[in-house]
């Protein structure tokens, strides 16, 4: 395994981490706002707040880690993606800022303020769309080189069906992942009403998720043939991912083992995400940028990998402690103890 592959593997793993924790976070905000609109707030808000409160900051760090890491391992991405992403990334930052700050404002300052909860939900709904644009752009076809600098062709980007499919996929999978997780969490809390509602949402969002995921493969066939062929070469990985999907939907349907259902879902997304990433290689931005021509020097790569290992040695036990105290603590999950700041 070369250093380039290790680097991209590390980053992709963190992006996957963000995909899962971010989805739970974005989706939870959306469901919270939606339940406010439909008058079902009483059912969901407690469960959602109890999960989100101690972890919202950690969720954000996964993203920071990814974008700092990618410039570290692949400095040329700063030149290409930095130049073209000014507008979409700025919008994503603003949405994330609204989320992060308003979450804290709402939780600690204005408890139960409807306007904030609503903004929080809406920002969560649009952030995945703003972020997923990067995936579309990396497939190539939307970037032109003008006087040696890359520039983004917004017209082509907005007209492409690929863009919209990826946006729809990101939205529906956010809601799906979040709903499955919250079903499990509510069930652990012994909250039957919330479990029932979240299970319903999970089943509703399962279908669009899998349909758009399939549709994107078809669109890639004409948009980026090379990537499509690479994906076909590892069709078994996508098939396995589909099996896990069927397994988790079946468990939800049968109202049993919600924990396992979430595990299968995590496996489904893990396999699909890595298979997608693997088949995209060696390109970071098709066809301008590969992992080989953008990789940092050897000294820096080794330093970063050492820092990464040392950092993980610190993070994994800390994250485990966080999960033990909140996610896997019966008293906390059920709200039996006073746990406010």
């Amino acid at each position: 395994m070369t250093l380039e592959i290790i680097g991209v593997f590390v980053l992709w793993t963190f992006l996957f981490g963000y995909l899962i924790v971010g989805s739970i976070d974005f989706g939870a905000g959306f469901f919270n706002a939606y339940s406010l609109l439909t008058g079902r707030q009483r059912i969901l808000t407690n469960i959602i707040q109890r999960y989100l409160s101690p972890v919202w900051e950690v969720t954000n760090v996964f993203l920071v880690f990814f974008f700092v890491g990618i410039v570290g391992f692949f400095p040329k991405t700063a030149f290409y993606f930095g130049t073209i992403l000014l507008v979409p990334a700025s919008i994503a930052i603003i949405l994330l800022a609204i989320r992060g700050s308003y979450y804290a404002f709402e939780t600690y300052g204005f408890k139960g303020h409807k306007g904030y909860a609503f903004m929080y939900g809406m920002a969560g709904f649009f952030t995945p769309a703003a972020l997923s644009i990067v995936l579309t752009i990396s497939e190539g076809g939307f970037v032109n080189m003008v006087n040696g600098s890359p520039s983004l062709d917004y017209g082509a980007l907005f007209k492409s069906p690929l863009t919209w499919s990826i946006v729809v996929l990101s939205l529906s999978s956010v809601l799906y992942i979040s709903a499955v997780f919250l079903t499990w969490y509510a069930n652990k809390a012994g909250d039957l009403e919330a479990t029932r509602l979240m299970r319903k949402y999970a089943l509703i969002w399962a279908l669009p998720t899998i349909i758009t995921a399939g549709g994107i493969m078809v669109e890639l066939r004409s948009h980026n043939t090379e990537h499509y062929e690479n994906m076909v070469d590892i069709w078994w990985a996508f098939a396995l991912s589909l099996l896990l999907f069927i397994g988790s939907v079946w468990l939800l349907w049968a109202k049993r083992s919600y924990g396992l259902a979430f595990g299968l879902l995590a496996g489904q997304f893990l396999i699909a995400f890595f298979a997608y990433g693997f088949s995209h290689l060696p390109y970071l931005l098709y066809p301008y940028l590969t992992i080989y021509d953008s990789f940092t020097n050897e000294a820096m790569a080794i330093a970063l990998i050492i820092a990464f290992i040392a950092g993980l040695a610190l993070l994994i036990p800390s994250l485990y402690l966080l999960l033990r105290l909140f996610l896997f603590n019966k008293d906390y999950v059920r709200g039996n103890k006073k746990n406010h700041a």
Partner: protein
């Protein structure tokens, strides 16, 4: 390269950083203050200090939230607005950037745990242990990010051969000559600012008519800590001056309006610059030579040694004056308060003195801002001193002006929002009521 993009990129970066450092500075300093209060509370077995820690922590969450989101903004803006710089810097200085996210991660995890376990641990010592990683994480993220900034002032750890960077050493780049003074100054001023901001709050409550012993304890503790760190700041500030004289003389010369290279250099305090002439200034003989080289007769390099297009803007002199004046006043203010309290001088508890302490909070934040502007503008025209000019680093995108407006709106909302939430939070739940509530809860007798 379009001049407009360069201008707006600079404006947006300055706006984001100026806003971010208010929350970031508090974010670095307050965990230490919470830790000290919690520790004093345990040691003295005094519930008031524990409550102090708890109330500070609650307000801290709001500032952390704004710090986190604006920090995320500047983190991404570095690549969005300065893609050429980040491409180059990514090769040499990615390590401390990467480490900063680890420190931040570490802090985020334990802050979550600390905040939500207030009522879980009977033993306050266990709870204190959770604060150590929070404070360490907060301080180390400041250390690492300041290392990146130090590198921009004193790039090293690589060779340039025919336009290519070779022999890169990440550690040498991190431990550059600017690093010790910069890191120490940033961390210590963050502690100092947080102490004076908290002191201002306590003084404000006393001024507003509360006569509770809780606020008096808070005021004495924060002023004492503020005194220690403001003295440390002055000492490290002196080292920074000596560093500049040695490695970045053009910044020192511009900040001091030192135009000609001479021995026995006088220090110019205050004054205004009118058509290249200094007016109304106080000149302290030999002081600049002492400041620069600890020797009253030493030669200090002046601006005459530099080509015209490599001299920073001369207005940084005003920034320098504001920073130093505020810093020194706060040493005096806190020193006098400490002494006065020990010796039972009554004027330190008078209204006008408390009013001065209230003003000390915002003043220390202004000193932080002017200090950063001095450091950053004093590096112009370079983004990497001697290596890359600012105009070669900026983005080529034509949309920066619109983004500037967008972000200005965001920071306005965040600034107003955080102030409103913080004041509401504490006004609705004053310490008297919280003590009462806790007494009911515990059946104990906190005064």
């Amino acid at each position: 390269m379009s001049e407009e993009s360069v201008f707006f990129s600079r404006a947006l970066t300055e706006l984001t950083l100026s806003f971010h450092i208010i929350y970031a500075t508090i974010g670095v300093g307050i965990p230490l203050m919470i830790m000290i209060a919690q520790w004093v509370g345990i040691k003295k077995n005094d519930e008031h200090y524990i409550l102090l820690a708890r109330r500070w922590a609650r307000g801290f969450v709001i500032t952390v939230a704004v710090g986190v989101v604006t920090g995320t903004a500047i983190g991404l803006q570095l690549s969005l607005l300065w893609p050429n710089f980040m491409e180059l810097a990514g090769n040499i200085i990615a390590l401390p950037l990467f480490l900063e996210t680890f420190a931040f991660f570490f802090e985020a995890i334990f802050l979550g745990i600390y905040l939500y376990t207030w009522d879980r641990f009977e033993n306050q010592k266990k709870h204190l242990l959770l604060l150590i990683p929070v404070a360490v994480g907060a301080s180390f993220s400041a250390v690492f990010i300041t290392i990146v900034n130090a590198f921009m002032n004193a790039p090293q750890g690589f060779d340039v051969v025919e336009g290519e960077l070779v022999n890169i050493s990440p550690l040498l780049a991190m431990f550059n000559p600017a690093m010790p003074t910069k890191v120490a100054h940033v961390v210590v001023t963050a502690y100092m600012t947080s102490a004076f901001v908290l002191a201002a709050i306590a003084a404000f409550r006393l001024l507003k008519g509360s006569n509770h012993i809780y606020h008096k304890k808070a005021l004495f503790l924060t002023m004492k800590v503020g005194l220690v760190f403001s003295i440390a700041t002055a000492i490290i500030g002196d080292f920074s001056g000596k560093y500049l004289a040695e490695y970045q003389p053009e910044k020192l010369a511009a900040a001091e309006w030192h135009f000609e290279t001479v021995e026995n250099a006088p220090l110019v305090l205050y004054g205004i610059l009118d058509d290249g002439e200094v007016k109304y200034a106080i000149k302290v003989p030999f002081a600049l030579s002492i400041l620069a080289h600890a020797n009253p007769t030493a030669e200090v390099i002046g601006l005459d040694q530099f080509p015209e297009d490599e001299i920073p803007p001369l207005y940084i002199h005003y920034l320098f004056n504001i920073m130093v004046t505020i810093g020194m006043s706060l040493v005096g203010l806190s020193g006098l308060y400490w002494l006065g309290t020990k010796l039972r001088w009554t004027f330190v508890n008078s209204r006008w003195y408390r009013l001065l302490i209230v003003l000390g909070g915002p003043a220390s934040v202004i000193a932080i801002e002017t200090g950063w502007w001095l450091a950053e503008v004093g590096r112009q025209p370079w983004i990497l001193r001697g290596l890359m000019r600012v105009e070669d680093a900026a983005t080529t995108s034509g949309h920066v002006d619109k983004m500037l407006i967008l972000f200005a709106g965001l920071y306005f909302i965040l600034g107003v929002g955080s102030v409103v939430v913080l004041t509401r939070m504490f006004r609705k739940n004053p310490v008297e009521r919280e003590i009462e509530d806790r007494n009911v809860e515990k059946g104990g007798d906190i005064l």
